[in-house]
């Protein structure tokens, strides 16, 4: 019994090693598997720098205390909310017309006089006479000219400007929960003090959050394409029949093929992880490496199973490579690889609940970024369940294709 099992394992390993060798000798297949994840990683990386900092021009025509104060706020918030160019009105309009800035903000010469006309509130002031507010004090106006070509960046600019203006009137309208003092500053006319508390101990920067899931895409792409191409090649060259006639159990043959697919993924991901860890790109909390290894292994098994289905179903290496690229991209995007799931509308979040890569990406982020492994068990249950289904279905489809 033990001898038989050892023999079966040896045969499985031999087949898997042979598949890895075949894949290593196909540089174009390797390129086809690596290009999409690398391109997406690059895209995520560069978009992180480019989005959310719209260029605006500031023209300061008033030069009193309040004009200088609000100009100072603009300069202090530049870099966080927008990129800022301080210039004169004519140059600003030239920059706007040549699309070098998306908006021009003018602090008019009468800005100080208008601000001075509006008395600031007293901390304990209770107002019963609304006529004071509605007729007594026309507020100072910042003149904004906006290139509102699309709703997204125009909204971003409007919100950033509202933030800056709010900071002028009420600098502490939002305060972290660690500050226990209620904002009673006479500058807060909004009369609310929003205390923010964060639920997690640390906030992950967006570059790591967006780029790291590309590791899942890498395993997926290599695993799916590697296994699918090996299966497709067997059918294309007629070697599938030889395999079916070999005096080896079909279970061993299929296990060898799927193990080959898993190994192909691991051959790529292990050195990538080593480089990422050595360069400090990833630094998981102590003790999380086994959890991460489980995520990668389960994803690789899912990928091998899916690849087996694809390779045995489709005809031709080209069709297989295209289908693999499309499917992997969908799985990655719908799994939250390029977005934060919480940002998506309800229906899309419900769709993503049925995408197994979501659990791989969630598990990977939890294992890499956060001190605890909250929700990791549930993620792994779904992922391992999917892996089992993928292996069973993949094995059945390959077996059927070989016997035809």
């Amino acid at each position: 019994m033990i001898t038989r099992a050892a023999r079966a394992l040896r045969q499985t390993w031999t087949l898997a090693a042979h598949d890895v060798g075949q894949w290593r000798r196909a540089p174009w297949a390797i390129a086809a598997a690596l290009i999409p994840p690398l391109a997406l990683a690059l895209l995520a990386y560069v978009l992180t720098f480019n989005l959310g900092h719209q260029p605006i021009a500031l023209v300061q025509e008033g030069h009193g205390r309040y004009s200088d104060h609000i100009a100072g706020i603009f300069q202090a918030q530049a870099g966080d909310l927008y990129s800022l160019t301080v210039t004169d009105r004519a140059s600003a309009m030239r920059l706007l017309n040549s699309q070098q800035v998306a908006a021009v903000v003018v602090i008019p010469p009468n800005f100080d006089a208008a601000v001075t006309r509006c008395p600031a509130l007293k901390p304990t002031q209770i107002i019963r006479d609304y006529t004071y507010a509605q007729s007594g004090c026309p507020a100072a106006q910042l003149q904004v000219t906006l290139n509102n070509a699309n709703h997204s960046f125009a909204g971003e600019i409007r919100r950033a400007l509202a933030e800056t203006v709010a900071f002028f009137d009420a600098p502490d309208v939002v305060t972290p929960v660690s500050e226990t003092q209620l904002d009673m500053s006479d500058l807060n006319p909004y009369r609310v003090n929003v205390m923010t508390a964060l639920t997690r101990a640390n906030t992950v920067d967006y570059i790591h959050y967006a780029v790291i899931p590309c590791l899942v895409l890498l395993i997926l792409s290599v695993g799916v394409m590697g296994t699918a191409l090996l299966c497709a090649r067997d059918i294309e060259r007629g070697t599938a029949r030889h395999l079916a006639l070999a005096p080896v159990s079909p279970v061993v043959l299929i296990a060898g093929r799927l193990l080959g697919g898993v190994l192909v993924s691991l051959v790529v991901i292990v050195p990538t992880l080593a480089v990422a860890a050595l360069t400090g790109m990833i630094a998981p909390p102590a003790g999380h490496w086994p959890a991460l290894a489980l995520v990668f292994l389960a994803t690789a098994v899912c990928a091998a199973g899916l690849g087996a289905v694809l390779g045995a179903t489709l005809r031709g290496a080209r069709a297989v490579s295209m289908a693999a690229a499309v499917i992997c991209t969908y799985l990655f995007f719908l799994g939250g690889g390029f977005t934060t799931i919480q940002f998506l509308p309800g229906w899309l979040r419900h769709v993503s609940a049925f995408v197994p890569t979501r659990y791989a990406i969630d598990g990977l982020r939890q294992g890499l970024f956060y001190p605890g492994l909250y929700g990791f068990g549930a993620d792994m249950r779904v992922l391992l369940g999917t892996a089992v289904v993928a292996v069973v279905v993949g094995g059945a489809v390959v077996r059927r294709a070989w016997s035809r």
Binding site: W28, P189, T203, S321
Partner: protein, 367 residues
Amino acid sequence: MKPTLTALGGGFRAEIQSLRRSRLLIVLTIAEAVTFLMLVSIFGLIGNHVPTAVVNRDGGKLADQWVQEMSATYHTYGVRYMDARSAEQALAQGDVAAILWIPAGFSQHMAHHTMIRIHFVVDNVNADLTNEVELGIPPAARAFAVTNHFPGIRVLTAEKDLVRHEVGFIPYLVVSALALAAFVVAGTLAASAVAREFEARTLAYIKLSPMHPLVPLAGRLLATGAVSAAAVGVAAVLVIAGYGVTPDHPAALAAGLLLCVVIFSCIGAGIGTLVRRTLPLSALIFGLALAFYLDSGSLEPARFYGNNLWVVAHTSPVYYAVGILQYAVHGLQVTPETIGVNFAALIGWALLAAGAAWLGLRRAVVT
């Protein structure tokens, strides 16, 4: 002239027959192009309407109004009223990104303009989401105060917009994505047609024909171009019907997309000549399309990225194509260059790409 046309037609017919035999490939190529439209649509959903639970313990009119202002201000929050327990559960499960607790007595405090504290709990899953969620609060508080004419508001903004009809983000993105869809479809089909000649070693036979070997190849590229044009046309119809976008200048849209198909077919032929293998072409072109997407003004006018990236964008035909398509569909000028200049640049690109493909193929055929 007639033998040339016969050879050209022969190549065309041969490629059409080949494509008819591999319908799955055409379906997959179109699926790749539609993938782009889908993906940019998903990307367009990021950052808007972050699901946020509101636990309203006040229930007064002003509390409701505060939440409405929060919901309406720059589309940052997608507000859902919940009781405390459901809200905490939803936050723990990732169904909402934050909880705003409106305390009892809020409306009374607002009516009397006295200070009150609101608690806001944020799931800081990443810095981007945390910033988005936190940045939305001051504008919401400000909008509420301005609407109710609260005293002490000393600064307002007076906005003048350059564009009369502001375009939604997703309609903007999908129009840009048409150029990239053209790149994926035309590039993949043309590159495959050329690479297949190398892979199957049929170039040797073509060279033996009494006609110049590039003529039947040009016929094949004409066929892939025709199929690509049809596929891009389907994608354009999908955008118009599916996203409710009506082109302002349909002729400019058709001309822009047709030029894209010509340019990308030629670029695809060049890639096919260089790679000479069909297997990695689709992945390579998909990867290149992502690079083009990044720096072509697909998300917003390319110059807003800064001058360096804008200069680099000029080296890609997608930049000019996006300029033309945004003008044709939405009437927007998203490049500092005029539409005439963009058309001239695209025609120049078409000639350059055709010349480069011709030279590359000729060299490959000779060797």
